[in-house]
């Protein structure tokens, strides 16, 4: 059974005794599991097997754990038929699957998660619905038996006819599809935002794009996954686990190799964004965006509590959700790209159209954005609309692949130096790992002096400068890196 990405093992015991025929299911089963009684009874009968006409007790152990989900159908049916035949189940073998009334084995969510967990618990064979076999087969060292129907499972266990284990065919997982849906080569102008994207990708920094409607903020954000390095196998597995839990995997393509891009609408609820729901919490958008990009358009329109709930996962790279059925932890390592208009009408600072907002309205709009969340965004860029005559010409910027090569190299420098990305550099580590020479230090301090930089702002610029230096292949942060980093900030409208 699954609790988030955690696997709990349930032992199904069946006992057949003389007495008045009946079927008791004990062991803290919730409604979905209690219904298994009827499905199992029908499935066994309709598979041409005998349902023991005796007093039957099925126990789900450990008894104190709440059991949920239809994946227990198959183990219950198997336990009953084996008990009826007087046989013991094979050792270190697990079963999961939902049964149809005719005995067919139906898909269940989270097979990959279950298979990984069971492997860790020491199981070496797993019976899964045939539809989910390729998912389970991603796990090394596990024999995967695809089950089409209860009858074939029982025949296999009784040695009547053996089911061939499922092995994923070639191409082996590991070949990434390298076609990019959105390529920076298609972006017109926007040099500053492109550079900010490159830095965001290289250092894992979060990014805010501010600009009027139609400036291309969404297009820019969509280009970010394409300049991130290709996924590692472990990352791909983690991604696939979350999608497996949600039953969201494409058939025939077991492993998820593309970096996610999630763009939830600003009306999203807390549970939708962070994760939640009744019973065991389901992963939210931030976990779906794991190892990829979470794009929040119209940032000021999101409910404040929802945005505030983002803070913990932004710091930790994972999220802990507690519900009545227990706590679960989901991964949430994503790059946040937020977009906003500069003011309620969207046209403040536009060279052509006039903003009609009062200073008060602009003020309160920007105040909604300020505070703890904005503090965690290292890069802020204002995006202008591109002139129509530029749009008509061929874009001249680099393509995503060229940018990605630099990103990969810059990330390698960071990982070699400190084992993590620059965005994670806390002040103490900054001092230790990214020391400043006198000239850049002077520039930063002079700026802090003149512009009243907060401590957080000071460290933000420092971190970004480190990434800029890494993109340069520079050992030390130079003055120009600090100066560049100080440029990635927004200006109040009422300057």
């Amino acid at each position: 059974m699954l609790a988030g990405l955690h696997v709990r093992r349930v032992e199904v015991q069946a006992d057949i005794a003389n007495g008045k025929p009946g079927f008791a299911l004990v062991g803290l089963a919730t409604t979905s599991v209690k219904e298994a009684r009827e499905r199992v009874r029908a499935a066994i009968k309709n598979s041409g097997l005998q349902f023991p006409p005796k007093r039957l007790t099925v126990n789900l152990a450990p008894a104190e754990m709440r059991k949920e989900g239809s994946a227990l159908d198959m183990p219950i049916a198997v336990a009953i038929t084996l008990a009826g035949a007087g046989k013991r189940p094979p050792p270190r073998t697990a079963f999961l699957g939902e049964l149809a009334l005719d005995g067919a084995v139906r898909h269940v969510d989270g097979v990959l998660v279950a298979a990984l967990g069971l492997r860790k618990l020491g199981f070496d064979r797993i019976f899964v619905p045939a539809a989910d076999a390729s998912e389970a087969a991603l796990v090394d060292g596990l024999v995967v038996t695809p089950c089409a129907s209860l009858k074939t499972v029982v025949d296999d266990l009784l040695g009547i006819s053996i089911i061939e284990p499922h092995v994923n065919g070639e191409p082996a997982p590991g070949t990434q599809d390298d076609t990019l849906e959105h390529d920076l080569a298609e972006v017109h102008g926007q040099e500053e935002a492109r550079r900010a994207l490159e830095i965001a990708a290289a250092g894992g920094h979060h990014l805010l794009l501010s600009g009027p409607p139609g400036a291309g903020k969404t297009m820019l954000a969509r280009c970010l996954p394409g300049i991130l390095p290709p996924l590692e196998l472990a990352e791909a597995l983690e991604l696939t686990q979350v999608r497996s839990l949600l039953g969201d995997l494409a058939a025939g393509r077991p492993l998820e190799w593309t970096r996610p891009f999630r763009a939830p609408h600003h009306g999203i609820s807390m549970a939708g964004l962070i994760g939640g729901g009744s019973g065991v919490a389901q992963p939210g958008e931030i976990s779906r965006a794991n190892h990829g990009v979470l794009f929040l358009d119209e940032l000021a329109e999101f409910q404040t509590p929802v945005l505030q709930a983002l803070r913990q996962p932004l710091e930790a790279g994972r999220v802990t959700i507690t519900r009545s059925a227990g706590s679960v932890v989901y991964p949430a390592m994503f790059t946040l790209v937020a977009a906003t208009n500069p003011c309620p009408c969207g046209w403040a600072g536009d060279p052509v159209r006039t903003c009609r907002c009062t200073p008060g309205a602009i003020d309160s709009y920007q105040r909604r954005l300020s505070g703890p969340l904005l503090d965690r965004i290292d890069l802020k860029v204002s995006v202008r609309r591109v002139r129509l005559d530029t749009l008509a010409s061929e874009p001249t910027g680099e393509g995503s692949r060229a940018v990605r090569d630099r990103v990969v190299a810059a990330r390698r420098r960071q990982l070699d130096r400190q084992g993590f990305l620059n965005a994670q550099l806390k002040p103490a580590r900054l001092r230790k790992l990214a020391g400043l020479e006198p000239a850049p230090r002077r520039a930063l301090e002079r700026w802090a002096d003149q512009k009243g930089l907060t401590a957080r702002g000071f460290h933000r610029a420092w971190r970004v400068a480190r990434t800029s230096a890494d993109l340069d292949g520079a050992e030390n942060i130079g003055e120009r890196h600090i100066l560049e980093a100080l440029g990635y900030r927004l200006q109040d409208v009422a300057a």
Binding site: G189, E192, A193, R195, V352, T354, R384, Q450, L483
Partner: protein
């Protein structure tokens, strides 16, 4: 349209002000450095010549005019769109105190406790026009509130004057339209004094062109400065394109210039500063 020429006013500070010509200086809330510098110098020169400078205490041109008048050692009056007890925007509390301390006044036609309401501001603009002998508009985009003041002034048979700007700037659309329609063109405070009929008065320091930057640049940092304008903001990407330089480098150099006080950053890009930023702090 008819409004009482002088609606009943509540005031803080010295009201009515000392006798003398009254000039309203109004304009954009988001002016260019050029407009801001013009408003400030006009305010200072007029105040020095004994003119009472009237404006609306808003951001941008209004604040620059008040500040200029204070710097010129004169009396300035803020006509507010809120109750006189509510300073709006709140960031101008200190400016309001300075106006009072210098013998000026905050006046309003609205009851005490009136909070900023969009529809109150046009009425305030009428009041401002009615209190002034001349209205000078410095930078007003199409549809700007300053144009309401100008219109009110016409209805009230007051003189309307306008400061010209760059033909490339949207902030010139309103002022140039006024000039086209017959508003007198203002190049310096002397023009305004002439309109007031006191041109013969001694005014030995006409509004002079900006005296330069008044800042010392670190060596080697002036390269991109000549590509910046004091009216039209350019962003780093546009400058990088123009100079064929990497945007990262341009951004860094702009920040360095900002540190030296030679450029200022606006919502939509960078402009040359006409005076050192430190003065404003």
């Amino acid at each position: 349209m008819s409004l009482p020429e002088e609606p009943e006013l509540r005031a803080r500070g010295r009201w009515p002000p000392p006798l003398g010509p009254r000039v309203a200086i109004v304009g954009s809330r988001i002016p260019s450095p050029y407009g801001e510098a013009v408003a400030e110098q006009l305010g200072a020169e007029l105040a020095r010549a004994g003119v009472i400078v009237i404006s609306g205490l808003a951001l941008g041109i209004d604040a620059a005019a008040h500040r200029g008048a204070l710097a010129g050692g004169g009396v300035t009056v803020a006509v507010m769109g809120t109750g006189v007890d509510i300073v709006y925007p709140a960031a101008h509390s200190k400016l309001a105190e300075e106006i009072l301390a210098a013998g000026g006044a905050l006046v309003s036609q609205f009851r005490d406790g009136t909070t900023p309401r969009r529809h109150n501001f046009p009425a305030r603009n009428w009041t401002m026009a009615s209190l002034s002998d001349v209205v000078v508009v410095v930078e007003a985009a199409e549809g700007s509130g300053a144009l309401i003041t100008a219109e009110a002034a016409l209805h009230l048979h007051k003189e309307v004057m306008a400061v010209p700007g760059s033909v490339f700037s949207p902030l010139s659309v309103g002022t140039h339209a006024l000039i086209r329609d017959g508003a007198a063109l203002v190049q310096n405070a002397r023009d305004v004094m002439a309109e007031l009929g006191v041109g013969q008065e001694v005014l030995d320091d006409p509004l002079s062109p900006p005296k330069g930057l008044g800042v010392t640049l670190s060596p080697g940092r002036d390269g991109i400065l000549s590509h910046l304008s004091d009216v039209l903001a350019l962003n780093a990407a546009e400058i990088a394109r123009k100079l064929q330089l990497p945007v990262a480098e341009v951004l860094g150099r702009l920040t360095a210039l900002e540190l030296d006080g030679a450029v200022r950053r606006h919502q939509d890009g960078y402009v040359r500063a006409l005076r050192s930023d430190k003065k404003r702090a």
